[in-house]
Symmetry: C2
Subunit: 410 residues, 2 copies
Amino acid sequence: MRSFIDVSPDSHFSIQNLPFGIFSTQSDEILSARVGVAIGDQILDLTAISQLFEKHVPELGNPTLVFSQSSLNMFMSLGKPVWQATRKFLQSILSEDNPELRDSKELRANAFVSQHRAKMHLPVNIGHFTDFYASKEHATNCGVMLRGKDNALMPNWLHLPVGYHGRASSVVVSGTDLARPSGQRSPGKGQPPVFGPSVKLDIELEMAFFVGTGNKLGERIPIQQTKDHIFGMVLMNDWTRDIQAWEYAPLGPFLGKSFGTTISPWIVTLDALEPFLVDGPCQDPTPLPYLQEKGKTAYDINLEVKMKPRDCSTHKTLTRSNLKYMYWSICQQLAHHTVNGCNMGAGDLCGTGTISGPTEDARGSLLEITWNGEKEIDFGNGVKRMFVEDGDEVVLTGYCQGEGFKVGFG
Amino acid sequence: MRSFIDVSPDSHFSIQNLPFGIFSTQSDEILSARVGVAIGDQILDLTAISQLFEKHVPELGNPTLVFSQSSLNMFMSLGKPVWQATRKFLQSILSEDNPELRDSKELRANAFVSQHRAKMHLPVNIGHFTDFYASKEHATNCGVMLRGKDNALMPNWLHLPVGYHGRASSVVVSGTDLARPSGQRSPGKGQPPVFGPSVKLDIELEMAFFVGTGNKLGERIPIQQTKDHIFGMVLMNDWTRDIQAWEYAPLGPFLGKSFGTTISPWIVTLDALEPFLVDGPCQDPTPLPYLQEKGKTAYDINLEVKMKPRDCSTHKTLTRSNLKYMYWSICQQLAHHTVNGCNMGAGDLCGTGTISGPTEDARGSLLEITWNGEKEIDFGNGVKRMFVEDGDEVVLTGYCQGEGFKVGFG
């Protein structure tokens, strides 16, 4: 499948992808955020082709209304059959073989916006944010540092996807500057805490899925039906660290996390990711029946973390990981989340937790990479880092590799 | 101050109170939820006196729009000066000395709805829910049961108001039936978990405050300004227990809480509670500067828990506690919540955690009352309880006692 829009083989935004986002352009003093789909280095403005949707995807109801929203919530709430019909139509209308948009000068003049000229917004009005802790390698690394090798994993870890409620208000779109948080820290056992800016500011390489349609309070989403409810995925950097250490007993992370969580602007649909399903890790012990899944359960998504310290001009790769290493799948996460009857809704966001891999160069946080500050990262020219310093820049990327094309997150 | 509406001295809804809520009536096949204020056994329908607001409280802008909302979020977002002007006007217009509403047959015919005829709704579209753990007696009781007397309080507990992010979607208004949740439980150390309905379903006597106006990400609300941001308070029953025990290490409560949290329908404003401020508990060690507060910091609110088992016809009082026992004040909670720059907004809800008092008859959960199932509660006629069984009913009440009147939560 090829598009009449030029897409280089290295672009994350092939016609096989077509991720959804919210963008705006500043023109004629009008700045209005609306729904777009990325293709190559362009954005297809879905409000500009409303009449095509009316003709080809009647399930959308009022496409002008749906796509002129400043969030994807309304589109997501329409449900999987509508997401799929929309995606199928978009692949068709962008195809090199289809003249309907390709040969219409009038339509094309308004339909495409260069990504360089667009401002990307938070794609979803996030209702609730949950963060899991689903990578066995990450949980083990943290456990070894905290409790030693023999007690690395908590007794519950192999039986359920451990997760907690996060703060939705502080989730921001990639590119948003964040301020270093202040808070209490403990200088050592028995000493009173001190107050001040975080001194160990860390990153966490995560992915996250958006719930598109939810369930009622008291009902559950059986694991076989979870994919009908998941709209798509984004990259996530769950900024974190030292403030959490003192505050988190016994009720979990709080202010150590709620100062900022960054997500990528383009939501890659589950349908675009399906061709990249692979076998998940062996789960031993066998999960309880409500967590049992058949077939391929893991997504082969290459993940990378790069960092550019304030005084450096280039980025250095710190980590190459992959979502396929994750122990608890996103379907298991959603089935677990609702097994008590917890109600989910359009726009709820669920993070995977830090995705570390089996090797040292696949660790997803500076805590693990520096082994809690034991090994400095050398950026050359005397620039070294243990944790993130003011003015540093961190870049997360992720993509699936197809034959001659990529399905990526930007 | 007295109203021309008859208010018995035992009513929680005196003219000194005037709590805000969202109600609807079923008449002429129209059911529309809107803003009302409780007075005696009546509700003053604020949409019915829009023209009076236009005349007397121009700060409201468009009172018809503000009060025809199905949540209080828009009113709350207008800010404290508007809340106070509205409250002052309502006290005036309901006063026995003011003829404007009192003597207008036409206005009165539409303005008052009997509480018996009204259905109460969740008063706020809750953005985020945070739950604190601010009662020293409760934290101590739980700590003694879990870790023994010598390590009852965690090292951080006396230095900061421990809190965690809760689930906002499962907060429901009083009277909503809840289903017993299912989940994993551990039958004992080293044994694999089992799955099934919760066998220790508990209540937690809490109160909670609503944020009316918030702060931007990266900014904080200094403790001296917290009262400008808090709209009012409600009663809260944070249903909970055994599912939490197995899941919560190390990231805190999750599915053990997110199946349902009940709040009272009427929000009592902070202004109505101010006359009932009393000295708070002595705080030793002295909190860090950002948590230091002057003057009276605790509210003298009498709290009671009653329970009616399925097969009983009457309620038995289980607990009499008081919000004044709480160690960390609501202002300290809000100042702490934002000290890292976490952004709050209109409709955010913060629970106090279980409010236990210093005596055995002031314990705020069945876990504490039965001392984790050691002492059964006897309801007579052979009916006993350790925890909540299907069909049981729990009633929380709370009120401040004025001279000849009450300011209560219903």
